[in-house]
Symmetry: C2
Subunit: 339 residues, 2 copies
Amino acid sequence: MKLLITGGAGFVGARLARTLLARGTLAGAKIERLVLADQFAPPADLMADARVGARTGALLSQAAALADEGFDGVFHLASAVSGECEADFELGLRSNLDTTRALLDGFRLKSTTRGQVPRLVFSSSVAVFGPDPAVPLPPIVSDTTLPAPQTSYGTQKLICEHLVADYTRKGYIDGRSARLMTVTVRPGKPNAAASSFFSGIIREPLAGVESVCPVSPEVSHPVSSPGRTVDALIAVYEASREAFNGRTAMNLPALNVKVSEMLEALEQVAGKAVRARVRFERDERIAGIVANWPTGATAGRAAALGLKPDTSFADIVRQYIADCERGPDAAQALKGLTR
Amino acid sequence: MKLLITGGAGFVGARLARTLLARGTLAGAKIERLVLADQFAPPADLMADARVGARTGALLSQAAALADEGFDGVFHLASAVSGECEADFELGLRSNLDTTRALLDGFRLKSTTRGQVPRLVFSSSVAVFGPDPAVPLPPIVSDTTLPAPQTSYGTQKLICEHLVADYTRKGYIDGRSARLMTVTVRPGKPNAAASSFFSGIIREPLAGVESVCPVSPEVSHPVSSPGRTVDALIAVYEASREAFNGRTAMNLPALNVKVSEMLEALEQVAGKAVRARVRFERDERIAGIVANWPTGATAGRAAALGLKPDTSFADIVRQYIADCERGPDAAQALKGLTR
């Protein structure tokens, strides 16, 4: 089978690619070709695999050609992040809405001219939820909570969910929208996502660097480890239409955790000295965005697919440390860790 | 003030235009100019008013120029109807989604370059609601029911609701989305809307013509008279931001009525002979679409604005007859009525 991952050079996309290549199969079929489309070139380890191809450049201008390549399956992960979309409205519309539309229209053309209907997993986000005066946000959102997004990013994700549902209803794709929780711990540098600190307050202290938490320790949030997130995307792909149960978007499993609990877990796994590198300094812009996010999520439909949240935040910290230890930059990434 | 009505030559748009011109003011300001944009030319009586201008042609190609004209207020009613959108997927995307996006981007440009932020009422639809395996449809939908549209028309309306909300949040427009119930009784010929028969089974018998009802008499549906619908659109325009209460879309008031009750009302107002011109002949395509619609709606937020549904379907039939009697085609339209 021939697969496409958009955003395939990104953190989640590259991890998904590695997992798929290691498995060798998806939904019972052998993976013969894996195309990674991204504005950046994929990591070298992925490019070293003979099955991997790269399509590097703006996705919007590549969408029609990509769709025409004829994929059996697609993971559509490419996206501008929340902070970018708030700062640059047109960037968000172009990268998130127009690009998804162009891809879907490409697949529609392929399905109506060649009868090829790709299975497509769309990575939506817990950011579709937010409070509106007419629609109070429950503290814990579920699959059936009414979305009222309070960011352009959340709005664009929600709109794409509905496009995916309607193109699926019409038979142009076999689409499934899965709402990712905040993925933590992300490696590398902070990004423009307002949720970036949920990784930073773990990653930076482990690297021996001070980290500033811009919100109160009492802030609670639904998170998921990279490993669980990738496993969930694969499970959503492999689910039958009946098991996916409808065309509305599905929440992926979340560990609902307070910032204070995240830091306790960090101390438990890595020690007091590491924990002490985090200090609190409120950032009104970030805190304002985060205040509009749910404090937790349930994922009943994902549970029916057998998907479970991470068991504890300490496990998430351990997963991050183990990932670093396997990588080339272990010394730098775990510089602050003395055991 | 300078107003724009898109779809201004249509049934609801023209009635709204007549009502606004007769009032002379909107939200306390004098109406100096009323532009009707539509693919068809407006009715002659509207064009005879010195305040009225027409912009006739495809709205998508006119959107940028229209936005640049600089309106204080906009009623965005133009839309392809449900049956058309199911038959021609691209038409629906273009007429409903792309056109709304182009208008909103035009207003965004105007607001960022000139500081002009128009108030905009978007006519969404009860068609945003539908059943999904994961999201059972309550028989009576409310302002907080989770939309799961089962048509492209409903999907496009829902997407536009969210665009209007986000452009409003960003301050580019002062937008309010109002979900119209099925407007009945419409004059003229049947249209391609799957709901067309809700007018046909009243209009045709009154004109002395046989009418076929494609669904069971037990089918219940939320309807609104043209008069109440236009009054509600004006009230939504005139509401303060606080009174509108949030940015999510608002249901307009509905009279929830069964087909059998509609026909009883017809008999009550117009007599047995008129009622006898309706026969039942199931149309699987229409019945299938209608089966995915809610059987009724509540409108709590609209009620808080002082808006009420029609008091009875007999009143709706009487409104239609009175409208016909005032019009030029009364003899033809009421040919079947002998009193």
